[in-house]
Amino acid sequence: MGLSLLTVIYLLGSVTFIVGLKMLSHPETARKGNLLAAAGMTIAIFGTIFLYEEDGVKLHNYAWIFGGLAIGTITGLMAAKKVKMTAMPEMVSLFNGMGGACAMLISVVEFDHIYQVHKATESMSLSAAVPFGHYLTIIAGAIIGSISFAGSVVAWGKLNGRIKDFSFRGQHIFNLILFAAILMAAFFLTYPSDVQHARMPFYITVGLALLYGIFFVLPIGGADMPVVISLLNSFTGVAAACGGFLYNNQVMLTGGILVGAAGTLLTILMCKAMNRSLVNVLVGSFGGKAGAASASG
């Protein structure tokens, strides 16, 4: 009974997200759309807390859950109420980073769980312990969440002037190498190694992803930050969807993918509104120099 009620709640939640997004894209209904999505989120959260069960076992640690919810709610309300109108975009960026960090931490706990369960078995490889699809959702959530978190914090710092633009020669090549290193660490160092030794490369992967997030946003000019925030926003959506895969949770899946897709389109639309292409924004410093060189030559 409880579990079937929960699936209906999740269905309801997914529908409110879709309708909410739709209403958010029209000026007259935008505010109602936001409230509708918020209502859907609220029932989905409380439904999960009270109705979720796995193999007949309900959730526990309620004190911790409600403590976290209370702290998050109070801090979030205060931050959102106090923030000046002009500082809204940087606030959005910060909240987006929090979501990314949340996805990253979920993956860390899930990975630790696998480690705790299988660490006693001598020389058991991680690939034998977990199916590839399961590992893929964990590591993808960790990588995308980390990039989104680190990138959003840098974007926040740039918007309020704490972090200056910073780029160096060959940064794009450096970023590419860094990204390749992340994939290497995730799939050639972590997955095939023993469960006992998989921890180190896993945390290295997460660390590299955080580094990548920083270097991804650093060279992009302050004026282009809204576009970058929108892009990171869609990243976090995908990271949330990874969680949906992991727990076979439809509302996380639809919510995450919806934001991932809508966010990507929104990013492109924002670029168009500024008469620029996304590539131009992302490799702005590089493209700018090359453009200037070709113009003068």
Binding site: I18, P27, A240
Partner: protein, 103 residues
Amino acid sequence: METMLSWIHANIEIIYIVILSVFLGIEVIGRVPSVLHTPLMSGANAIHGVVIIGAIIVMGRVEADNYAALIVGFLAVILGTLNVVGGFMVTDRMLEMFKKKKA
């Protein structure tokens, strides 16, 4: 190849959901006017806060004596809640501002 096919077969429902959601996400905001770009971004930002549900599930499954996991999970719940509550609040404030401008 065979494992790939059987994986797709086993997860076909989820794959359907993903593909349809991608099209839906693109369709739903397709004709947004540019004044609404920032509020829409903020609203979408709040919606992906749905990741909090994952944090709650993680938190609720951790053994009560595994303090490292409890603390990380606790942090995840706080951050996720911040994303949800802050996200919806900021969006509401932005849209409120829009209304005043019009009047």
